[in-house]
């Protein structure tokens, strides 16, 4: 494609997303006015919360790390015709594996410890995603249902671990002891929480992009997702590709858990969210970028901004927490709607949906 055409396309997409975000803020204002707050003050508080200081920028990136991983996990699965709704559970498996292994084995040097934990958590998530993949191919069990239900099992495994065998030495709080320093992802800058998990997330996204678009195996993944029957008749072993995509997706989701335990938090604690857990939010992160691995990095950041910023509206502008959900939902809806509209008007862009 000629560069000029491509730039023109970039411009169009930029424009459409910018407009949909503005419309999103416009629509959200209606709700903010309805509860008697000032929308402008609310948005100032939102931006201030996300970018107001070096600390808040660091926090916004922190929030983006797990979202990038779970978003990428969803993108790879959806792109390959497997609907993995189990990112939440696979992420928990990664977190559990990281904490349990780091607390159980003798302390190793960082350079050996971190890759080991990363590998084990990847395998834990891949294993957890492999079960529904196997059930789908072998017995035709709908993976939407099985992955969704399997999210609850690791949730309760965490409950058990943090109140039972791995509860902290004080035996007071539902959390494990801190994992050894050698098992922690180092921070970029002293005094800020932002850590190397961000770089890891970006590297994994780039690798996923190269894999999906620049290798023949990646092409088979996408072909399986684009048209199952056509892919089958081309001689692609679609069942095998779907299992592989699911396993890869699960492993990547688990890295979100790895980064939370080894990076941001340092211990495994009870409780992540149930309403907008990183696993479920990852699906939205993937959807608004049309399942593009590089887009996932940016949309993960966008959600990080939205979550960190809209939550700080509570403190800066006395906006109730429910507004956070409303704004997030409106943003997703306006961005997805703008994509649909563009497609309907024949103004589609190539996010690689069909191009090779």
């Amino acid at each position: 494609m000629a560069l000029a055409v491509r730039l023109n396309e970039y411009f169009r997409v930029t424009f459409s997303v910018a407009i949909s975000v503005l419309i999103g803020f416009g629509l959200s204002s209606i709700f903010i006015i309805a509860i008697g707050s000032n929308p402008l003050a609310a948005y100032v508080a939102l931006l201030d919360g996300a970018f107001g200081s070096a600390q808040s920028v660091s926090e916004t990136f922190i929030k983006a790390i797990p979202l990038i991983f779970t978003g990428l996990a969803a993108a790879i699965a959806f792109k390959s015709n497997v609907n993995n709704i189990g990112g939440e559970g696979q992420m928990y498996m990664g977190a559990i594996a990281t904490a349990v292994v780091a607390l159980s084995i003798p302390v190793l040097p960082s350079l050996a410890f971190l890759p080991l934990l990363l590998g084990i958590s990847f395998l834990a998530g891949a294993f957890w995603a492999g079960i529904p993949a196997f059930l789908k191919i072998r017995f035709g069990a709908d993976e939407i249902l099985t992955t969704l239900l399997m999210n609850w099992i690791p949730f309760y495994i965490v409950s058990y671990i943090v109140t039972g065998p791995f509860q902290e030495a004080d035996r007071i709080r539902p959390q494990t002891d801190f994992i050894p320093d050698a098992a922690r992802l180092p921070a970029f800058i002293a005094g800020y929480r932002i850590h190397w998990g961000l770089v890891l997330a970006i590297i994994v996204c780039v690798l996923a992009y190269v894999f999906l678009w620049k290798t023949s195996l990646g092409f088979e993944f996408r072909a399986t997702g684009a048209n199952l029957e056509a892919a089958r008749s081309m001689g692609i072993r679609v069942n095998r590709r779907m299992i592989e995509a699911m396993v890869l997706s699960g492993g990547i989701a688990a890295l979100a858990g790895f980064c939370e335990v080894a990076g941001t938090v340092g211990t495994l604690k009870l409780g992540s969210s149930n309403i907008l857990g990183y696993g479920y939010a990852g699906i939205l992160v993937a959807l608004i970028t049309n399942l593009h691995p590089i887009g996932v990095v940016l949309s993960g950041l966008f959600f990080g901004i939205l979550i960190v910023g809209s939550e700080s509206m509570q403190r800066g502008a006395d906006v109730p927490i429910a507004m956070v959900y409303i704004i997030e939902a409106i943003m997703v809806l306006t961005i997805i709607t703008s994509q649909l509209l563009l497609r309907k008007l024949g103004l589609t862009w190539s996010t690689g949906q069909t191009s090779q």
């Binding site: 930029t14 922190i62 950041l301 509570q314």
Partner: protein, 345 residues
Amino acid sequence: MQSVAIVVIIIIAALAVGGWYMMQAPAPTGAKKMALVMPGSITDHGWDQEPYEGLMRAKADFGLEVSYTEEVMVTGTPADYDRIIRDYVSKGFGFVICHDFLCKDSVTAVAKDNPSVWFAYDGARFDPAIPNLIPYIPWGHEPSYMAGVFAAMMSKTGVVGTYDGLPIHIEVACVEAFEMGAKSVNPNIQVLKNYIGVWHDPKKGHDLTVSMVDAGADIVYGVGDGINIGGIQGAKEKGIWFIGGTGDQRPVEPGTVIVSVTWGLNPIIYTLAKLYSEGRLSGTAYEFTMHTYIDGKQVGPEFLEWTDANAGKVPQSVKDAVAKTRADIMSGALVVPLITKAPGT
């Protein structure tokens, strides 16, 4: 590509905030500022609503400027406490209460960095190295013991039930004290105990309550908030009495919730706010039981008795037993054992 679009938006947003930031000038009011950070919803009839109401009373009575953040654990994870607490500090708040036992690491780190700001969190152990960090804890074992006495005497089937979210210290203290209270009046009574695993899910509380009734229980004591909203509904469907927990849950369903154990979180937060506004906070652990008096007023957990509407449904013998148990606890004749580890763990 959409990705580029988002980059541009981020840049625009960053520029916009830069501009706004320069225009903004904070207007100090001079009032002392206090913040409360909570894991759940301020409408949960328990862990979060009670402190929220205490904060609002303090705002009205002491002229404090207050702010709160709710549902941290619903919208996010324990990792978010760090950011929220630091945000309050940067906005000039002089006292930040983090009302969760999962925020200890976060609040400790921020307290070390900001020795001139007061912090409090739900915990028990004071660290002299961080004198501006106050642990506070509501021990609900005494009123739970009274609930056990009440339940055992009200039960006709000889089976009573109790449940909680997770088997951790202050929760285990309530569940075990309930059982001891029940067995003190009827050694043969069967006490069904269960930990649900979560606190926020009404459905699970409902289902567990119904299954306890099916196993013979005719009165159930729930320690929790979200799970109790469901448990109360289950008790209502089955036509049994329910004993509320963590806060005053009698108003939720006056025909079903006959008595309630409160941890007194409303007066606890109110009192901490009062001490802060008067400059009287001190570096120590604040533990609250039925014996805790501050400024001559009892502050802390309490057994809330039947309302006038239900008084006719409580036999005089039960009323006498509850009154005697209360008198013994208050006089020290009865010391309710504080058990913080579930048997078998």
